[in-house]
Symmetry: C2
Subunit: 215 residues, 2 copies
DNA sequence: GTCTTAGTCCGTACAGTGTACGTTGTCAAG
DNA sequence: CTTGACAACGTACACTGTACGGACTAAGAC
């Protein structure tokens, strides 16, 4: 009746989370339901609850798995370089899993994210920054990484599945008057022209430079 | 049978959105459903759909209403001061409506938000910044405002309704080893000690200063 | 061997969600 | 008085998360 039980991967937390991540990568977290997840794994819904408390825990485990993908900083590197590398690597992980940035802040940090925090804070503590500035820096860098990624991916949320993002942006600027909103149109146009390449690292360096100047 | 129809406010977009905002302010957006919203207004669910396309439109109108609360910058002020004021006022609006920051990036900008963008971009264009730097600045400031507010309110998402945030933070640091994660514990402890007051404006100024130094 | 115990899988069921559709009431223009 | 519009409503459907209880299996105790 059911598919050969031999073919399906045995059910445990790791398998569930891995499958959930793959599903979210393909269809987004909004489309992720416990039923679809179970179907994807070849099991029935309620079987998942033998390994996982509830959906919230699945989501929590998912972001922690993403955090686990972020490589720890090279201990031999300069402290500031470590902070910078951690920021860049974190951003890359969030780009790899576009749903992760939106979840990052809503989940209590799991073990991997606590490790991530520790690396980040340790690198900052090893710089010349005073403790209060290091505290500030932690949040400033975090804000930049997550906020920038979120903003970049905001379009993906708005654009209907497999819709044309550029076309949507063009229809957006077509809908507003060039007389009252000229700067807005120019701004969106700059995005369409694509000459806003790697501003992420540029602003990151700006923030880091500013922080190291503080005391 | 039904409550006196005279007492209930007549149904239109504005009434629906106002009620939705009040409800979200009190119970959060997760608890907001079309049925509860209708009940709050004294109507039945489907009546809402005579005035609103779907729930997504309600959410979209809600964030635009928040954007409309943000006062336009004083045209007599210095451009940089306008940018700064806009950032601070935006943050205040997002704090007034804690659900708004999370929705801000997921909704296509409505008229009020386009106006907000225009003010922001116009003020930046009036500074000494070159156009590419002004473009950068728009995103950098936006990231800071939204990211900072989101991060600040992340706790509110994690803490169960009317739960003790401090107690949860303490149980969090109790759960991690001081030997492997000393910096993390120290960081959370600093939050509990509350000596991290108005870092928002501090980092904002840091970013603005850095941007004005660029060219 | 049998009995017990723990753990996994699954079927059923329930309350709650967004919303499509059709019916009813109301009120103004012709 | 009729007609047509629009707003309010009731019902219905597909879908969500998950509580509960039963069926089955595997391991260990005697």
């Amino acid at each position: 009746m059911s598919a050969a039980p031999n073919e399906r991967r045995s059910l445990d937390r790791a398998a569930i989370v891995a499958c959930a991540i793959a599903f979210a990568d393909n269809h987004g977290t909004d489309a992720l339901s416990m039923r679809k997840l179970a179907a994807e794994l070849g099991y029935e819904v309620m079987s998942l609850y033998n390994h996982v408390a509830n959906k919230a825990e699945v989501l929590s485990l998912m972001v922690d798995a993403v955090a686990a993908e972020i490589p720890p900083p090279d201990p031999a590197a300069e402290p500031i370089a470590s902070v910078r590398a951690l920021a860049v690597d974190t951003r890359e992980a969030l780009v790899r899993h576009p749903w992760a940035a939106g979840l990052w802040l809503r989940q209590m940090p799991g073990p991997a994210r606590v490790g991530h925090m520790e690396h980040h804070l340790a690198a900052l503590a090893a710089t010349d920054m005073t403790p209060p500035v290091a505290h500030l820096a932690f949040h400033a860098v975090n804000n930049h990484v997550i906020g920038y990624t979120l903003q970049e991916q905001a379009m993906a949320y708005v654009v209907p599945p497999d819709g044309d993002a550029d076309a949507l942006a063009r229809s957006f600027i077509d809908g507003i008057s060039p007389d009252v909103h000229p700067h807005t149109i120019a701004h969106v146009q700059q995005h369409l022209d694509g000459d806003t390449a790697s501003s992420f690292e540029l602003v990151l360096d700006l923030i880091l430079d500013g922080l190291t100047r503080l005391d």
